[in-house]
């Protein structure tokens, strides 16, 4: 990828670490000079992707957050060794599935890739002018 890596940060897969991920996104947003609205949208999307990894993937391994400032976009990759799942069985709450739609609504591009090792990479892009 042609561009600048802003950070590679790992967080342990605990929900209490979501706030740390959001503080990290605030720093990334400042460095990428995002406006307030997009910075907030990015905070939500990253928090959602991490929450999904923590709550549903079954993985006990760290989640890595990589931010890249590319020619045309700010790219955040959230990677973890678990599978991407929409929800655990038996949650019984029909509105628990809002995280993914929210990510898609807030970002310019979202891709979810299965890595050869069986892990997941969620890539969030905000296009830059």
């Amino acid at each position: 990828m042609r561009g600048r890596c802003l950070t590679v940060t790992k967080i342990s897969p605990e929900l209490d670490r979501l706030a740390d991920a959001r503080r990290l996104v605030e720093e990334i947003s400042r460095e990428a000079r995002l406006d307030e609205e997009r910075a907030y949208n990015l905070k939500v999307a990253v928090s959602e992707a991490c929450a999904n990894a923590i709550e549903h993937s079954g993985s006990q391994d760290e989640i890595s957050i990589c931010a890249w400032l590319l020619d045309d976009r700010l790219l955040i990759e959230i990677k973890h060794p678990g599978e991407f799942r929409l929800a655990r069985a038996g949650t019984g709450n029909s509105h628990r599935g809002l995280g993914l739609p929210l990510m898609v609504a807030l970002m310019d591009e979202v891709t979810i890739n299965r890595t050869p090792e069986g892990g997941t990479t969620v890539s969030l892009s905000l296009f830059l002018p």
Binding site: L15, D16, L18, A19, R22, E36, E37, Y40, N41, K43, V44, S47, E48, A51, I54, E55, N93, H95, R96, L98, G99, L102, A105, L106
Partner: protein, 113 residues
């Protein structure tokens, strides 16, 4: 996040401070659900001091809306523009039992009419 239960004009009022996310959404739920279980028809949630909300908070609100009696509503007061955007994208502003108010004055106006 802090959620403090109070009362306003005879209605239950919950004042929330801080960020509502997947880590503390259960606390947010615990502040609201007993009110519905106790039979509240309408409740007010003061969001003026809420700096962050995502699908965790949205799902708690949806869960409360589902359990309100017919004609009941949850009024969210003072949501900041970023928070309001999430409430809109999350579909709450289109929900019949969800009302968005800039301040308690507007709630008073809605009750009077």
């Amino acid at each position: 996040m802090e959620a403090l239960r109070s009362e306003w004009e005879g209605m239950p009022l919950v004042v929330v401070h801080g960020e509502i996310d997947h880590a503390n959404m259960a606390d947010f739920a615990r502040a609201l659900e007993p009110l519905v279980e106790d039979g509240a028809q309408r409740l007010i949630v003061d969001l003026r001091d809420v700096t962050y909300i995502d699908s965790g908070g949205l799902s708690v609100i949806y869960s409360v809306l589902r359990r309100l009696p017919e004609d009941g509503w949850l009024g969210a007061v003072g949501a900041r523009s970023d928070v309001r955007r999430i409430l809109e994208i999350g579909g709450l502003t289109g929900h019949a039992a969800f009302r968005l108010f800039p301040s308690l004055d507007e709630v008073r106006g809605a009750l009077a009419s």
